[in-house]
Symmetry: C2
Subunit: 414 residues, 2 copies
């Protein structure tokens, strides 16, 4: 029996790597004053149809439950956020700065960097139209990636503005019904042959390509970059109006994070979605909002392929999996005494392990090394003294059992 | 639109309480040398049928996926553990001491303390037959509950032994095919009228009731309690052979944790299941094992109703949701300077927030208080000095902006 295709088992080393990513996400989001929340992993399918239309259902893990409800394993968090914000709109002072770490699902063919489940960090600011919120959100996104040891040589945030294009389309007197289709075509530039793009854009091909060859810019994008410059983060961003993001609900600044070498899919992406909460709540709440999501799979691959980031993770996860103290029971008569001491040590916060069955002393010391202990305590002939061995230096000293706690607290900091 | 029945939204205060529970679970499990792992939330339905028979399907969130696979949202972790242990049997030194924190699902009518989803800690020891492993597991379970501030006056671990009863049934020459049914009847004692129990037990009623009136005991249970006594934990346990646990796969020591007042469902439960891994892996792996699970719902209710535990949680979760420093921007010309400083402070690990739009200074100070900041920094007329205000004491001091980091690092510990 195996796990289902596209689903992962997290063995201890995988789980430690996952926890390392979660801890960094959480730590940096909190530094930015974001507070954590979480929605259900199962939601009414309707919630996703409402946002993305019926065609989304093809990519969902959805089913009919035993109460005849149409339900889906969540593919993303934003619809749940809109639901929760609408339900509790008056309870919280705006702007909300909320983050969430959870698992998401899609029924798709597996590809590199895309499984059927993944974990995702979502960070959203709700209730603020000012560009300062966009600056805050992009800064957070940059600092989260930086926290893993990446520098501006490793990654870049490509920033664009949907309004740059909607202003252009308005100036060209293009009917708004056609905007989505044109934005999708611009989004696909570089992934489609130039001729195909030109054909799709028709009379717009020439002005669009002229903009792209010059590099588009706008006063709003300049102000955004100025804000990031004030934070010392301007080197991490490129204005790139080719970024449109496929999803129709974005209304303003949008951004995507890529590795500089261009080897991976996007590490994160997001933007402003000022109309979505109103639309999803059937008008019961109306709040401007913006947010981004970052998955664990591409990020994990990039960490694995980058020396500094990979070493930082390995070091942190190795420490997480280590114990502090191993108890060697050289004489079974001492087991009860050892158990009493183990309880005391664990109560003080030390990570302590010991053999559950009698075994050779040399083998017990080997286990102490295998488990990454700093210190081994030997309960044997020296009783009521205990032999304290520092495993790195092989230094040994005898300490009375009743003075052991004080001795260790003085010599072994956690 | 609402969440599905039996599913929870975790608003920030709920999420902080959940994280508090997870952190205690994780911390104590690690003190015991347990390492964390995790399985998928979706598994083949077959995995659960194999362990619990076809009748389990009635309680599952199960469905047919788009690839025509019969799948289920996991109701418990043990089958996934058996699958993973069987697949990686030779990679890890035994005994394994593994824990996991994750979400589980069941399609049931909601009741107090029972939703359709809950989070659960699972702790298992794999590969050890010695009673020392049972002692270690029960100790861990006790210490986890203790970590929330509960004492022996608040909870008790009721311990029993399946072998106590199977030895008895063997001595009465009862055919082993009838054992499960008789154990189920004993499990229901106290929840069913005495006459009904007697009728079901037939000729066994008299000896069974005699055992129960005397209080059953055995040499193995005595040794278990002796081990817990060596750890100083004997006051937390009662030997109570009425505990059988409904699940047929237990083979030895079983235990359940209850609040002393008897107001709640079991807080945790577990035991030894020496044959299950072999059975679930179709004989490809054979490992003795034991484990327990503790859910977040009953535990959370008990914390909420117990003064000391509730206060400890409130204190910890309040701190988690607080920022350290709020930046008051009294003059918009200073926003860029403030942004530069905010970035420096966040880089040092401080939790920092600031107004995204211009606002009255008094209102900004109010926000600083609302967000739980210790210190407010005012960027205004004093520039290039910054006013540093300690919010608890209302003390104010002027510090040059470029000396601010050093000043705060000396005065505001994290």
């Amino acid at each position: 029996m195996q796990a289902l295709p596209g689903f992962r088992d997290f063995l201890p080393s995988d789980c430690a790597a996952r926890n390392y990513i979660f801890a960094k996400w959480r730590e940096v989001a909190r530094r930015y004053g974001f507070v954590e929340w979480e929605g259900p992993v199962l939601e009414p399918t309707e919630l996703y149809k409402k946002k993305s239309g019926d065609e989304i259902v093809g990519q969902l893990f959805n089913f009919t439950d035993k109460g005849q409800r149409e339900v889906a394993l969540r593919p993303e968090l934003t619809p749940s956020l809109a639901r929760v914000v609408a339900a509790h709109e008056r309870e919280f002072k705006k702007p909300l700065k909320w983050f969430s770490i959870g698992q998401f699902f899609r029924y798709e063919k597996q590809q590199r960097g895309r499984l059927r489940e993944h974990f995702q960090l979502n960070c959203d600011i709700v209730g603020e139209t000012a560009l300062a919120a966009d600056i805050e959100l992009v800064s957070l996104c940059i600092d989260i990636v930086r926290a893993f040891g990446f520098t501006e040589r490793d990654f870049v945030v490509r920033i664009s503005d949907r309004e740059f294009w909607t202003d252009f389309l308005r100036s060209q007197e293009i009917a708004s019904e056609r905007w989505d289709e044109i934005l999708q075509t611009i989004d696909k530039l570089g992934r489609e042959p130039r001729e195909k793009t030109s054909e799709k854009l028709g009379q717009l091909a020439e002005p669009v390509l002229r903009i792209l060859s010059k590099g588009g810019k706008s006063e709003k994008l300049d102000r955004l970059v100025d804000g990031l410059r004030a934070c010392g983060l301007a080197n991490f961003v490129d204005v790139d109006v080719r970024i449109v993001r496929g999803l129709a609900y974005y209304t303003g600044i949008v951004f995507e994070v890529f590795d500089r070498a261009g080897k991976f899919r996007a590490i994160a992406g997001g933007g402003r979605y000022d109309n979505l909460i109103e639309q999803l709540s059937d008008g019961s709440a109306s709040q401007p909002a913006l947010g981004f999501a970052m998955g664990d799979v591409v990020l994990g691959e990039l960490i694995g392929e980058t020396a500094t980031a990979g070493e930082a993770m390995e070091k942190a996860t190795a420490v997480e999996q280590k114990i502090n103290i191993y108890i060697v029971i050289a004489k079974e008569e001492r087991r009860a005494d050892a158990l009493g001491q183990i309880q005391q040590l664990r109560d003080r916060g030390y990570r302590v392990d010991y053999p559950l069955t009698p075994g050779k002393v040399a083998r017990q010391f080997q286990t102490a090394e295998d488990l990454g202990a700093s210190i081994a305590l030997l309960y044997g002939d020296e009783w009521p003294q205990v032999k304290v061995k520092t495993l790195a230096t092989r230094e040994e000293t005898l300490v009375a059992n009743e003075e052991l706690l004080a001795h260790l607290q003085a010599h072994l900091s956690l």
